[in-house]
Subunit: 199 residues, 2 copies
């Protein structure tokens, strides 16, 4: 397995610029057999850890973001970092995807993980998987033009394209199981108690 | 303003590897005056567009993700792309942040944009802003160990650290206004109608 590595080229950025992502991210190809072994091992390990100590099921995730540039944010999540920006129409420099696009990307990528996990559990095969998420948003609330609506997406549609040897009925059953167990889909579909505070 | 540019070094990746992010993302420094001009111009332009055509307020965002490697996803959002992975404990290669970390990063970065926007609208000054989001998750639902709970975060805490010349009361009022208008906070705090389908 190949983890991310840093590029070694001298990119020669001048003063007044912030180098935000200098990691060249790669992932090696994985055979279906290797993925199956990893998923089975991961599931078994979690079952054993949680059977021994129910508290092992409780995870806290934490990310920190620093406002940079015009309206951009540099996010740190453990050893990883990524940049979020806005297009010019929202006062940004458009050097990275926007917050709501990252939210949709979180949904799509979480679905991929859970499709992998439950395909393995149900004995189904996924040769290729591609997922599109679309979200509709009315910007009038964001800009305070109309306070009656909501600020976030009022409709999200997820379209899953799987290729593989199993039947449409089996993949549809898989999709239903995935949707019942996907953390980010739950975050979209159901209210999450969220509190804010100045520190 | 400096948009992202591609590195030109030959990174010499061999066969069997997928180059996922070869963009070196940078954002130039922005003065407070320049940001203020951009935010004001952006807000004015949206008000004018929407006054002329209410339909201009309706935006549809779309991202597509392709499963790669073990459980990773390469996300495309317009001209931008980013990689999502999982740590080894979830069968990944840990070359990028995980889906739930991207969800928290979406929240943090959206808050930053809306703090910028409403600080400008309210005549407040933000010298520096750093936001941390923590989310608590019980993995038993994800792994099907206990079906009674929820798959996503059951609690999220957002901590906002602002430095600037205005009073604590003014920043607290700003925070309340931001939370009422932040698209991704709304996505967390309230249910979003979300449908899935195989294609």
């Amino acid at each position: 397995m190949t983890a991310g590595r840093r590029g070694t080229a001298d990119h020669g950025y001048g003063r007044g610029m912030t180098l935000l992502q200098d990691q060249i991210l790669t992932v090696s190809d994985t055979t279906a057999e290797e993925r199956a072994q990893r998923l089975t091992a991961a599931g078994t390990a979690w079952h054993e850890r949680i059977a021994a100590d129910a508290g092992a099921a409780q995870l806290t995730y934490r990310v920190t973001g620093r406002g940079i540039g015009s309206v951009a944010t540099e996010i740190r999540a453990g050893k990883h970092r990524f940049l979020v920006d806005e297009p010019a129409a929202l006062a940004g420099d458009d050097v990275a995807a926007s917050p709501v696009e990252y939210a949709l990307g979180a949904l799509v990528s979480c679905q991929v993980v859970v499709f992998r996990l439950y395909a393995q559990a149900l004995g189904l095969t996924i040769d290729e998987i591609e997922i599109t998420a679309e979200g509709d948003l009315d910007v009038r609330k964001l800009f305070g033009i109309d306070e009656s609506g909501r600020a976030g997406f009022h409709d999200v549609r997820v379209k899953v394209d799987i290729t593989g040897p199993d039947t449409a009925e089996q993949y549809e059953e898989l999709r239903r199981v995935v949707d019942a167990h996907c953390p980010v889909l739950d975050l979209f579909a159901n209210p999450v108690p969220t509190s804010g505070a100045l520190v």
